[in-house]
Symmetry: C2
Subunit: 356 residues, 2 copies
DNA sequence: CCATAAACTTTACACGCGTCAAAATCATGA
DNA sequence: TCATGATTTTGACGCGTGTAAAGTTTATGG
């Protein structure tokens, strides 16, 4: 009717709406078609070939909703992240989608917008969609324990990036071991220059505290004094660059830390910090003797290498995390109900660049 | 069974699986419940209140798949973008999800991964899901005309960001008018310094050509010679920063364009170009007389203001685009079948910062 | 208190596909 | 050509919810 693309001469294939219709025009029974669609090899080769051929002459799309309703497995996996506008989460989603696609899963993504109410709604929606599992990068504050608990009765749940709020006992987790990653970069920084002070991230998920703790522990082990920069502003928002910029602009304005090594809790904070440094005429730089300002991050944000100076950081194994999470869910969905919660930690790797 | 969150004492509400079950324990008929869920105001206030109260004492999640199967409208909207790892698209998705949520729509997002085959599959999946409409940021090259054409028979389709390949005749489009946006920044650059040369983006969608054309047109109108930098590398990938960096690193290495005003086709290319400049000791800067290197971008990428120097650019109206696209689909889905293709252009606004 | 309309319940069918059992057909080897 | 097992067809039911029709209850107004 609405021939928006009406190109004269382009005769489109006849549209077929239901499998019953299809079975009639194609000349096989509907149950056989059903088997074919679930596994083309499940029917006789000659039949399979016949179906395949006739199918190409026809415009038929299976009904996703109905098929999922009736199968034991929906092959849907829910993904919830606090924000799309964070390249770390974006990278995670991209990798998750890819790993899922390879296993035949469809991803349903929802942003919690940094809001625990929205997060809870998203979890409920996943439940209503009968997903085979869900991957959640949780918000730390005021996470809705009951909602997660109820959901985990219905399907396996895997947390990534950060752990859920402490009220939870045990839960599946796939991510980076902050002790290892922060440890590695603290060690690097101490080895190549002054021991670092720590610039945290807003306390929005478990990583904020875990990374600071990891920093303190490593500094202690290395016999250095741990110093955390006290943010002059309340950092309650996910705008990490703004946070890093504001805090360090304030410090540098008072000529504080202008000669220090600053380890930031993540790259987005570091990007803001670098911007603040630049504004004050400072260009952090590693690899030279005699001190001077250095700034390092955590995550290996895709744009970190385009900063000036290029940001020294530790890279999380994003693909590894995505793949492990999907594998875990796939395994659980296929009846591998070990029931026991699993925690998978992947190593982060140093990315020494210019800034430290 | 798998009491991952088993907190002793936390008695969970009784789980109810079907609406029939619910109707029995709640004391109203199933059809009434059905009406209630579609619109709580559609039943008598006393009944509505009763249902609402009993509902809170029980753990019931409606079956998303089944409800969508039977409603005339699924209230699903498909979204397809070339990549999640591009903050412009990420911003778009975030705004789309928000606008959609307000209208009760659920978003199904898929990345085409810059691959037209994957894009076509995504469109087919949207068809199989019986979405009420789809929003797609298309890939320009070798777009699968037939797939889009078939889809647009089933539901309204809105293209955003860039137009589909030219093989298409007319299609719904919501986005920025490149003539206006590029025109604005060319005018600004000419007014505040040397007329710009143009650094394009890889030819991956219609914007590549459109923006260059817009640049040439505006330069012609202003009586200046249009000059496009010829990339020494083949830019076939979506890694725009790498493209901008490589091309300009090459130029600056030969001491070319080191004193020019460079307008980049988008901010990601500009970020790469700035990095190349910095590497060569160049810090583009506007607002000073007597020439010197200047670099400008297009889109107002969220990190543009954190570059050194902060990137001068034109901001697309991301929220406006998202909202207009959703509104258009909602209107069409509600029977407003004007059938005619609509094109909505939103103005971009100058963001003068430091780099030009 | 009754007439009337609105709201509700009951009953039934529909949606498109998964799945099962029984009957019919096919392919293969002797 | 026939026996045999594998595959397909036929027919039927189920999934959880939307929805329509007909009958019953409830609220409203006089």
């Amino acid at each position: 009717m609405c021939a928006m693309y009406g190109v004269p001469g382009t005769m489109s294939k006849p549209k077929i709406n239901t499998m019953k219709e299809l079975s009639e025009t194609i000349g096989v029974s509907r149950p056989t078609l059903s088997k074919y669609f679930q596994d083309p090899a499940a029917v006789r080769p000659s039949t399979s070939k016949k179906i395949q051929e006739r199918l190409s002459e026809v415009d038929y799309v299976y009904n996703f909703l109905t098929t999922r309703q009736n199968r034991k497995s929906t092959e849907l996996i829910g993904v919830i992240v606090p924000s799309y506008k964070d390249l770390f989460f974006a990278s995670l989603i991209e990798s998750i989608e890819q790993s899922a696609r390879e296993l035949g899963y469809t991803i349903i993504t929802q942003s919690s917008n940094g809001d625990s109410g929205v997060e809870a709604n998203a979890v409920r929606k996943m439940r209503s969609m009968s997903v085979d599992g869900a991957i959640v990068a949780p918000i730390g504050v005021a996470a809705d324990h009951d909602t997660f608990a109820a959901a985990s009765e219905d399907f396996p749940l895997v947390f990534i990036d950060s752990r859920p709020a402490k009220s939870m006992t045990v839960a599946n987790f796939v991510g980076t071991d902050n002790t290892q990653s922060i440890g590695a970069i603290v060690e690097y920084l101490c080895r190549t220059g002054d021991p670092p002070v720590f610039l945290g991230m807003p306390d929005l998920n478990a990583n904020a505290q875990e990374r600071e703790d990891a920093y303190r522990a490593k500094m202690l082990a290395l016999n250095h004094e741990a110093i955390a920069i006290e943010p002059a502003v309340a950092g309650g928002s996910w705008e990490f660059e703004a946070f890093g910029y504001t805090v360090m602009d304030d410090c540098f304005g008072r000529r504080e830390f202008t000669n220090s090594t600053i380890l930031c809790a993540n790259d987005r904070v570091a990007i803001g910090a670098i911007r603040a440094a630049n504004k004050h005429g400072l260009f952090p730089r590693g690899g030279i003797a005699g001190g001077g300002l250095r700034i390092a991050g955590h995550d290996d944000h895709p744009l970190s290498q385009y900063m000036t100076p290029a940001l020294t950081t530790v890279a999380q194994d994003v693909e590894g995390i995505a793949d492990a999470a999907i594998q875990l869910l796939a395994q659980r969905a296929r009846g591998g109900r070990s029931a026991e919660a699993v925690e998978v930690f992947l190593d982060a790797t140093m990315k020494p660049r210019e800034s430290a």
